[in-house]
Chain length 207, copies 4
DNA sequence: TATGAATGAGTCTTCATTCAT
DNA sequence: TATGAATGAAGACTCATTCAT
């Protein structure tokens, strides 16, 4: 709970990020329509009106949220991959572990859920995600798989399917974490899933 | 005098199913909050008031929808599996193909999306799905995997992870179909994904 | 006070007119912005939501109000004038008395006030009134004055000014009635004003 | 070092008038409720907060505006009239021309519009105007008309009506200028109206 | 003296629900 | 059984006002 002094604190530059953080949490739980501006405001430690100083409205908050969270995640992965050299196997192992880490920490996983939920109401956002996150992610993964096939590390398989097989358990992790994990009696071992996935996958892909 | 069936035909027995079908479509696109009773009524070919003759309200429609669609799908699979005898490999192949068929035809895929979207607003439904669909589905799959390990067809691997690996591409199919497929230029080959999945998976699981 | 029975009376066809009548009264007193939908609804004997069954919103109510009240008033005058034949003097006398009657009875006078008030916020309505009411009214009056000049009943004077001189006391009546009459200790004698106006005007216009 | 006058120049004495000037313009266009403090502040070249240094709030600005603008106009006319001696005709001619000048120049005409608009929301201001402006103006005009009748220059007519006939075209000018003139293709000749008015009026009033 | 970020009461608008027909 | 006009609670958004700087 924040110290009750300073109801009138002025922090112009910090506000937008705080509001988006709060919005992410609220949207994740309530969905777009179910989230009230009051909820978001309260979560951000401000009042309703303040949100309107920084955003045009609820939809603008939502769109900012979705758009802002792209580069951050993907760019980090790109950076890491550039500085990496090795076999396709090692690369794949590294890539999946990196993405798994992104998904299983922080609030990023819920964004996927939000996009799924609201693809009907905001098709342009679904398209945006499709092209900016999904397609770009698949393209990177494709490069790795194709490299592996070219170097004789992997069998020759349809790449479009193979890359989805690589990603599928990560998707499952994200969904599990954001929706069903709350009912787990014992916390699920996501790392164990990834390890097993890599074990099975690499053996399955081997020539 | 014209036949008196006309507009006010009494179809007390057919109505609830018609309304639920309509509701499924509307909820899938708009989400729970975004769906208006008017939308559902129109999709069902009745007016708002009629829905209240058969359901207590919006929430009751939604809950009926989610609860009703369980048995149907899962029971069918159970039935088929009982009459089936063979190796764990064949069983796994059969099970995944059956589920894939359920997912890639009809409107069932969107139910998953609905549950994900509304797990925050209706936690009891998420719990219900978790226990009635997910856990039961995982249990059946576990039985197959354990059988395979026991019979020496599969390597000894953590079953809880292995079953999720089996299911993950199906989950991806469902999500792809209900959310991102609309932006595909060429329709995605779901069967190809399943075939490749089984190919890689069974090789990966082999001792 | 209306009988308290029948909160749920259904009178689809009567509602729009009732709402517009109520809106006229409320807008006249409070102005556009100051009028609350609740006020209008209450004045119309319905609730807020009902207004939205018949109008798209506050602005639509306002615009309907202004547009609807044109033909009614002006058309009646036209009709009467067509069946009238006589000297320009008699015609002028008849026309001014007719308009004066329109202005000093019913709620029409407040419409002018509303237009004046909101010409800044709804310029298209001011333009509409200008062209549909003012210009058409001035044109009719011009015809009379020009007739009088042609027939030698009136002096030759700039018609554009003369017609405004004819109308000005009517405008004053409308404004007085809708704004300042409320503070009169004794009710003002509008008919006396018109009589004096015609007396002075016709003498002033005479050759 | 640059001269320190800059943004924060203290202009305690000039501010109130600047703000009222700005407020007059904004109220005239938007009406009372439609005018935002931000609008007024911007028009005055200050920020919202500054207005509150000089006025208690929006209503205070509005009331100051209406009250302040009385003496100025009327007092000037009084002054001029005192130093004037001649026939009632000449006096009337002078008075109407003076008022017409006041109305057709500067921003005074819009004040009338504001009073009309807000007489419902601020009845005390309407009463104030009624007594301070209207009644006093009518009283002065009555003196002239009565003088004319007493001196045999004018016919014996009901003075209460005659004075309104004198003023009506001025009122029309004010309203035309503040509301409908914006749609004129050619600028209206207000002086021509007054000239014609005096021509017709004086002839009409003559015995 | 001046600023402008922050507040929160007030309104429009939507839509689930009711009920007379 | 079916309709759809009417209701009213709920929530997005605005803007007059406050106050730390």
């Amino acid at each position: 709970m924040p110290p009750p002094q300073a109801r009138w604190a002025r922090r112009k530059d910090a506000r937008p990020a705080e509001i988006l953080d709060a919005a992410l949490k609220v949207f994740a739980v309530k969905g777009y329509a179910g989230a009230r501006m009051d909820d978001i405001a309260q979560a951000a430690g401000v009042t309703k009106g303040t949100i309107y100083l920084y955003f045009d409205g609820k939809e603008a908050v939502f769109k900012s949220l979705v758009r802002d969270s792209i580069g951050t995640a993907l760019a980090g992965m790109d950076e890491a991959r550039k500085s990496f050299h090795g076999s396709a196997k090692t690369l794949l192992r590294f890539a999946l572990n990196t993405i798994a880490h992104l998904i299983t920490t922080g609030d990023r996983a819920v964004l996927l859920k939000i996009i799924l939920s609201e693809s009907g109401n905001f098709p342009e956002l679904a398209r945006f995600w499709r092209s900016e996150i999904i397609d770009r992610g698949l393209a990177r993964m494709s490069a790795i798989v194709e490299l592996g096939i070219a170097q004789g590390e992997f069998r020759s398989l349809p790449v479009e399917h193979a890359v989805r097989l690589c990603m599928a358990p990560l998707l499952l992790s994200a969904i599990w974490r954001s929706t069903f994990a709350q009912f787990d009696v014992a916390p699920y071992d996501y790392q164990g899933l990834i390890d097993t996935h890599l074990d099975v996958l690499l053996k399955g892909l081997a020539p």
